[in-house]
Symmetry: C2
Subunit: 316 residues, 2 copies
């Protein structure tokens, strides 16, 4: 398999991306070809300097999309950027997955327009892995791609999240919950009240009902769905718990698990090929983990599973 | 002044309520008459047992509204309950504030229908105090009373919260932010996008723009507004940080400040008289703090300030 990696994306690119590759190659068997997008004159000596050898291909990309550029405009105007070239490779099948810690908006626009949305999926979504207090992990989605949602969007996020939890996180028969302000059916805002019966009637998921803010870090559900406004606030609050406790030197294994480097980036779910977006402040461990997740998405053929599930819905 | 306290509300009533009274009386000068609603045959020996003396009046209430009773029905059917009698006293001016750690829904229904909403206020709101990592505190609202909001609701919450922050939390010229998914104007869901210009144009508040989930525990804003769905999730997540770290014996002054007993209950803002709702698991410290907040709301004449601000808006 061929995994594409934008070497120019993120605050510490390309050095930390290179170190992430070295970590990945040190831990995994060499069945993967890594295709690196970026400035060849910069990358060739960097790989040598970091002693990185293996099945690696550099694809020269003369431009870089900055972290604060307007996504659509930047993708259009910088067709030689590492993100644009990467998506071209993904769309044409020269790579099987694409990873970047660069401009999030450009990655989302690229994911939605360079490659296709899975047939039947109304809106792709982004998720985050959430640490649970008992050592397990869960998935929360949407975490910001869809600030306003319709009930059916949440229902689809539940299915996409369940498949990701099953095949990538290794959770059999994942429990799905609706993030809400109370436990009982009928609670919530208009969206949550309307989403509940859809989730309850969805035979493709294992819906267990509502969970609340107090349950986010408890092992009550494996997959929790919400619109992207609340999900984004929850994600950034969870990240800040790590930042604040780390700065205050409050040490505990549970708090360490809030470090996003544990998990790597967030996959864009609902598009037809694996795309993973990293945090701007990704360091080597995050890059390593993103490559590992991309490899797992390819190995498990997650995309075919998602396509089959949505075809099933369409036929039902 | 006369402060009314429901002695029968909360998981540890009436014992912890009584102990809270003792704590309050030990710390404050005796200018307050405490009016206690509950079963006289239970309360009289309890006060003696706990050595509570002072300016205290017991008002017999033969019934109790349970924590899980339907609010409207319970208030209607149990007119001799401590909550119903308390609101009757508040509505007729026999007490100046009413506190209960009992059935939250019944307290909200009582607050909105027994006493009036301040003229000009579209929807009352409930708030929570949020600990900031630098030792300060901020206010977040709405935290669950209004799961669906219109932009003008958020604008009014900003004014109500600003007045509470100024007079009760002692924060001069409180900075107001809109909880959002990004810093820039124009970010957010439809509600946040529409609320931003209203907040920006509101000359009665000190609007500083958007804050994000990562800023909730940082000292960026003194008052943060959002609809009650997201606010409720944030509140319950914050509470769970304390619960989880406490259970794991992760000790730190910052984490201790997530203990809601620090702050007491949540006032219902936008109604014409002080009403404070305590957590069901309130213990003595929480009751003490709720009495202190009620006293401060009366002493500072916060209600008149709120009425004047909304009259000002109406006349403007």
């Amino acid at each position: 398999m061929n995994i594409g990696l934008d070497m120019m994306g993120g605050d510490f690119a390309p050095l930390e991306a290179a170190r992430g590759i070295r970590l990945y190659l040190g831990e995994h068997s060499k069945t993967t070809t890594l295709v690196l997008f970026g400035d060849e004159a910069l990358l060739t000596p960097l790989l040598a300097q970091e002693n990185i050898t293996g099945d690696i291909q550099i694809v020269h990309a003369a431009q870089v999309i900055g972290m604060h550029e307007h996504p659509t405009r930047a993708l259009k105007e910088k067709q030689q950027s590492s993100i644009a070239v990467g998506f071209h490779y993904l769309a044409t099948g020269k790579i099987d997955a694409f990873i970047s810690a660069g401009n999030t908006g450009a990655m989302l626009v690229g994911a939605m327009f360079s490659i296709k949305v899975i047939e039947g999926v109304l809106r792709p979504t982004i998720s985050t892995v959430i640490p649970k207090e008992n050592g397990k992990t869960g998935l929360l989605l949407d975490v910001g791609l869809n600030a306003d949602c319709k009930p059916e969007n949440l229902n689809q996020f539940a299915l996409l999240g369940s498949l990701y939890a099953r095949y990538i996180l290794g959770i059999g028969h994942p429990r799905v919950s609706l993030l809400n302000v109370g436990e009982e059916e009928g609670k919530g805002n208009i969206l949550a009240q309307a989403a509940y019966p859809l989730l309850k009637a969805n035979s493709q998921i294992n819906f267990i009902g509502n969970t609340e803010g107090r349950d986010v870090f408890l092992d009550k559900a494996d997959v929790t769905v919400c619109e992207g406004f609340t999900g984004n606030v929850v994600l950034k609050m969870a990240e800040s718990v790590y930042d604040i406790t780390h700065a205050k030197q409050i040490e505990h294994e549970f708090l360490d698990r809030f470090n996003f480097e544990y998990y790597g980036g967030t996959p864009v779910l609902g598009v037809s090929k694996p795309v993973i977006i990293g945090h701007g402040i990704s360091k080597s461990n995050a890059f390593k983990n993103m490559i590992a997740v991309a490899a797992k998405m390819i190995e498990t053929d997650l995309m075919s599973k998602m396509k089959a599930s949505f075809t099933g819905t369409a036929n039902a």
